[in-house]
Amino acid sequence: MDKIRRRDRLGMIFDILDIIRHHHNSIKPTPLLRHSNLSSQSFSEYFNELMDKGFIKEITDDNGKKFITLTDRGFRYLEKYKLISGFIEEFEL
């Protein structure tokens, strides 16, 4: 699961969110980059997109360390992903 094969944009978003979910919904940015198997530039783009769209948020613990967690919207995306990709495939969009 950590080795992510080449996928389309929606699939990549799913994979990144899934990584966060599998890490008990709390992961630091650097391990997330490592697990996503993306270049730092690509990762940065996806990361910004996920933040802008409200799928993830950054939280800071008492020691000042930053963690990435999923929002409700992020969980909904994970839940609906199979339907979304099925829809796109069905209608050839």
């Binding site: 929606l10 769209k53 919207r73 909904r76 995306y77 609906k80 339907l83 979304i84 099925g86 829809f87 796109i88 069905e90 209608f91 050839e92 969009l93």
Partner: protein
């Protein structure tokens, strides 16, 4: 007796029923796909869903145009305001929204291969041009001709991309049928009945079935 009797009140009820069903199905498709578009901001999904919003509006204005013709002929009254009638608003908006719908549907399936910057803006320009034909000519026949040409062009374009990908698609066939029936439905707007009412009713039933199939496919993936 008027020289050209388009349809009688009973047939108006049939047109109303047909319009209500199609508008309902189109709007259901539009609203059912709201969540998946909201989550993904996928361009294909966007153009797919707005297609059905535009078709819903086009069918509403198509019915208004039929109603205004029927009312004038059958009841010898005209409740439409003069300005409304003179400027042929229903026909113009019918042309505008249906053109947007045809272009949006086509683009939704070819956007990955043919990326057009500011596609919606371009579609609006084309739609304004075609509805302008309806406005200046005040003739549904020219609108039918313009949309038939547009339809043929979009089918050829879509076929070109399908042939390149070498896969046959039942969905593409559904879309072609749906769009063809739309053009056939436009004949009801003309001053003469080119297609007998009974045959038109058959076409309308088939088009309801086609959009019903599309709706069913959408509903399966948008629980």
């Amino acid at each position: 007796m008027p020289p050209f009797q388009l349809i009688d009140p009973i047939k108006l009820a049939a047109e109303l029923g047909y319009t209500l069903i199609v508008v309902f199905l189109c709007l259901m498709i539009f609203f059912k796909t709201r969540e998946i578009y909201d989550l993904t901001r996928h361009e294909g999904i966007n153009y797919f869903r707005i297609t059905f919003l535009f078709f819903a509006l086009a069918y509403i204005f198509r019915f208004l145009h039929i109603f205004s013709i029927l009312e004038k002929i059958t009841f010898d009254t005209d409740s439409m305001m003069d300005i409304f009638r003179i400027f042929q608003f229903p026909l113009v908006f019918n042309g505008y929204f249906s053109t947007l719908a045809i272009l949006s549907l086509t683009y939704s399936i070819i956007w990955k291969k043919l990326h057009i910057k500011h596609a919606l803006l371009l579609f609006n320009v084309i739609a304004v041009l075609i509805s302008g034909i309806a406005f200046f000519s005040r003739s549904p026949l020219l609108l039918i001709l313009a949309q038939a040409v547009l339809l043929i062009f979009t089918i050829i374009l879509a076929c070109y991309f399908y042939i390149r990908s070498r896969k046959f698609s039942q969905l593409f066939l559904l879309y072609v049928l749906f769009l063809l029936f739309w053009v056939v439905n436009l004949f009801a707007l003309g001053p003469r009945r080119f297609i007998p009412f009974e045959i038109q009713t058959v076409f309308q039933i088939i088009s309801i079935a086609v959009i019903g199939i599309i709706y069913y496919k959408v509903a399966r993936w948008t629980k």
